[in-house]
């Protein structure tokens, strides 16, 4: 399967899962909200140009927004993590040319610990940005802290489960294929 087709399928899949599975889960508490859709942005290939990453993230976030009737609410955090992503990858990538040998960030290509740090930081930023925008419209500071903490914990758990359920092969690209 080509990378483009794979990413288009992911685009649709993540939005539908978020809109029709995770958002339909009866709420445990007002803070505990499962958010997983932004994993699409974390899984984007290395090879995409930085501006395109942001534009794709914007469109992705906006599509998500149309399902929840909040145009802009999810687009803003998605663009933020798409902007931060290259900086983080620069720091976390091993010194060998991982970008050339693997196609996208995964526990295989970055190493388990660096990948966990990568996911944790971006998840936290995404949720913080999302809740900040909600907080500016209403709510108090406890709401902000509580919701960011709870949502990040649940997101990390969901991402962990997703990585186990759908192990990506982390295809090693040889020079011959290039």
């Amino acid at each position: 399967m080509s990378g483009l087709l794979k990413n288009i399928i992911r685009f649709i899949f993540f939005i539908l899962v978020q809109a029709y599975v995770l958002d339909k889960v009866p709420p445990l508490h007002e803070y505990a909200k499962p958010i997983l859709y932004f994993l699409f942005v974390l899984w984007l290939p290395f090879s995409i140009n930085r501006s395109w990453q942001m534009i794709i993230a914007f469109i992705f976030g906006l599509c998500m927004d149309y399902f929840t009737s909040t145009p802009g609410l999810h687009a803003a955090p998605c663009v933020l993590i798409a902007y931060i992503r290259p900086f983080l990858l620069n720091i976390l990538l091993p010194q060998e040319t991982t970008e050339l040998s693997y196609s996208e960030p995964s526990p295989r290509s970055l190493g388990t610990m660096p990948y966990a740090v990568y996911v944790l930081i971006l998840t936290f930023m995404h949720n913080a940005c999302l809740v900040l925008i909600e907080w500016l419209q209403f709510g108090d500071f406890i709401f902000f802290i509580g919701k960011v903490a709870a949502a990040t914990a649940i997101s990390m758990l969901l991402i962990f489960v997703t990585e186990i359920l759908f192990p990506r092969k982390g295809r090693y690209r040889t020079n011959a294929a290039l």
């Binding site: 534009i55 149309y66 609410l73």
Partner: protein, 283 residues
């Protein structure tokens, strides 16, 4: 000039980042004010039709409950029929008045039945999608009531689908009154529990008790709700020492988890009322 181009080239990513963030925030801001979004109409049709497909499946799991709800509502309405009462005089046969229009007055509210195709309760701002749109006569600001009580108001409509701001929305404000004493207050949602709403603005001089019924008030016609529709029952009375008003926790009559059919209500005299009100000088 050359320096400007160099600057743009150097900070292109940063500038693009700010532009996209700005676009996102601007869209959200303008949506919150007007409920109109870019491509809102097309997006509404697309998400509506996907939701319809999802609901076709989900609906089967709630058929029994929906059926019970509608049957109970039917029984309630039958109880109100003239034929359910024995007239005071000695005549044994009940004659239906052929001059219905004269004795019943002029029709004020019109009802349209609509299927709920998408509904959320977990967001901070919850919206409902209905499978009825402009082509079927839906207008913005129509009230929405369910079999058990009020649900929300229409904020946007495309050709075949319409978006409803549910009561479970931080921006929703509905005028409601207690059945006992007819005290009028404002109903909103604090974002915590989808089963409970908050009623503000009932003065402390009012005698309220747990279990009192809350109805839509007769000034809620701005949203074209008929007056006296069930909203819920008072579940808890929270005393706010700093003000002269109660904060009442109201258990919502509508169960938002199992909503399948709703009625859109249209106040046919609303335009006339608004026209008159707008004529009144504001000083």
């Amino acid at each position: 000039m050359r320096n400007i181009f160099l600057f743009i080239r150097r900070f292109f990513h940063l500038l693009l980042f700010f532009a996209l963030e700005g676009a996102a925030i601007y869209t959200l801001y303008s949506y919150n004010k007007t409920h109109q979004a870019f491509f809102g109409n097309i997006a509404n049709e697309v998400t509506g039709s996907i939701s319809k497909k999802y609901n076709d499946v989900e609906y089967y799991f709630q058929l029994k409950k929906t059926n019970e709800q509608l049957a109970a509502e039917n029984a309630n309405l039958r109880r109100m029929l003239p034929s359910a009462f024995e007239s005071a005089d000695t005549g044994k046969i009940f004659y239906v008045d052929s001059l219905a229009k004269d004795t019943l007055g002029i029709r004020k509210f019109e009802f349209i039945v609509a299927k709920v195709v998408n509904n959320s309760v977990t967001q901070e701002n919850n919206y409902i999608t209905l499978h009825r749109g402009l082509k079927q006569g839906v207008k913005v600001n129509m009230g929405v009531i369910g079999p058990d009580g009020i649900v929300g108001k229409v904020i946007d409509a495309s050709d075949n689908y319409s978006r409803v701001m549910s009561l479970l929305n931080r921006k929703s404000k509905v005028s409601a009154m207690t059945k006992k004493g007819l005290y009028i207050g404002e109903l909103d949602w604090d974002g915590k529990d989808p089963n409970y709403l908050t009623l503000h603005g009932i003065p402390k001089s009012a005698k309220v008790q747990k279990g009192d019924t809350v109805l839509t008030s007769n000034i809620s016609q701005k949203l074209s709700f008929p007056a006296g529709i069930m909203v819920g029952r008072i579940a808890d009375i929270i005393l706010d020492q700093s003000s002269n008003f109660y904060n009442l926790k109201v258990k919502s009559a509508t169960n938002f988890f199992t909503l399948q059919y709703v009625y859109l209500t249209d106040n046919l005299q609303q335009a006339e009322q608004q026209e008159l009100e707008s004529k009144t000088p504001k000083d």
